[in-house]
Amino acid sequence: MLKFTEEHEWLKIEGGVATVGITTYAVDQLGDLVFVELPEVGATFSKNGNAATVESVKAASDVYCPLDGEITEVNPAIVADPSLVNSDPQGAGWFFKLKLANAADADGLLDEAAYKELTA
């Protein structure tokens, strides 16, 4: 199940765990990323909590936790090479995996068609 937020994150949800990243649209707005800071594995966040930070040449931006949950895995490859997020934002440029506190919360997020409409 692929979901999106109005803050330009995507979530690929499988068995109550969401793989989270930022959308192609977000990356186009940010430009070349030069730094990524990821949360600790085991950290818990509420929806809209500051889970990660990305920095472009120009500015820093927060990446919000899209739903309540616990971080089970992060992607060290984007810390080593932030340009991976630019080149493949919805694939190899994923940020973290989030074990959802309540799997049904995902129903309230945008589906792909609604997100496309939002960013059209």
């Binding site: 430009g31 030069v34 730094f35 472009s56 040449v57 120009k58 500015a59 820093a60």
Partner: protein
Amino acid sequence: MDDTAALKKTPLHALHLSLGARMVPFAGYDMPVQYPAGVMKEHLHTRAEAGLFDVSHMGQVIVKAKSGSYEDAALALESLVPVDILGLAEGRQRYGFFTDDTGCILDDLMITHLDDHLFIVVNASCKEADLAHLQAHIGDRCDITLLNRALIALQGPRAVEVLAELWADVAAMKFMDVRHCRLHDVSCLVSRSGYSGEDGFEISIPVDKAEDVTMRLLEHPDVQAIGLGARDSLRLEAGLCLYGNDIDTTTSPVEAALEWAMQKARRGNGARAGGFPGSGRILSELENGAARRRVGLKPEGKAPVRGHAKLYADAEGKIEIGEVTSGGFGPSVEGPVAMGYVPVSHAAAGTLVYAEVRGKYLPTTVSALPFVTPTYKR
């Protein structure tokens, strides 16, 4: 109402849009922050080949003595800047700044001795205030005229070859030389200067020919349009101050490490010592130093440290010692770079300080400026 409706446009505005620029408000103008290539590639292209920047938002001003003599214009301007203007040879340019009565900086500017008058270029954000300042203090002796012309910068190691294809004489110009040139049969004013740390030129063009001359330069395979984003990262790596960030009405020239711009003639025992606003403080600081100083800062990690980050002497953030005034990622340095003010006790290159970023205290080394080696043709 559209937010951008009130913004002014440079003569190259339509060209920026046609090149796919992302436009942002800057100093009251709708300006290109980047083109489709993006800040990183634009920055690296400028250092490797040649970048073309629209800086038409800046104020181009003629200061001409009513007497018609250069000397009178020079002496009038010397009453507002701690710079040797009388000793500036014809066709030469010099960096300077307007000071206020407290010895701080009202604006920084480029000053050229052109024929029998002065040609100055001031920051867009200070343009109106600078004109009023000039009018109020030397308007009785000089005619102050804001020119309606475009200004572009062509910067980078290929700039000289590209421009010499249009006007061969530019190749013989030295850093800070200024010449009248005809580019594609358009009368332009060319200076061998810029704000990127690279060799290059700034070219003042009549408004009605600006797009034509610019497009012809962009047709050259080595030339690429560069936005304000890369302009900022280039000047930061070059250790150059951005007015409003690194220097303003709370910083003195000596605090800002700009002693090099104040020549002997205007200092303590010089032929025309003092005689500019705030000279008491500035002459004293030239003699004795200031309590704090602008320095280069190199964060140890990968995280950029940006303007307004607080600086500490200790890793726990207990002893605050200063603030970052400009900072970001340096594409040529391949890491974060910044500038800021620290007490002279912490201003020596190699001193370890700590910058606060998102609640962490990041080890940051005071570094000599610039971060890249300038390639000016002296």
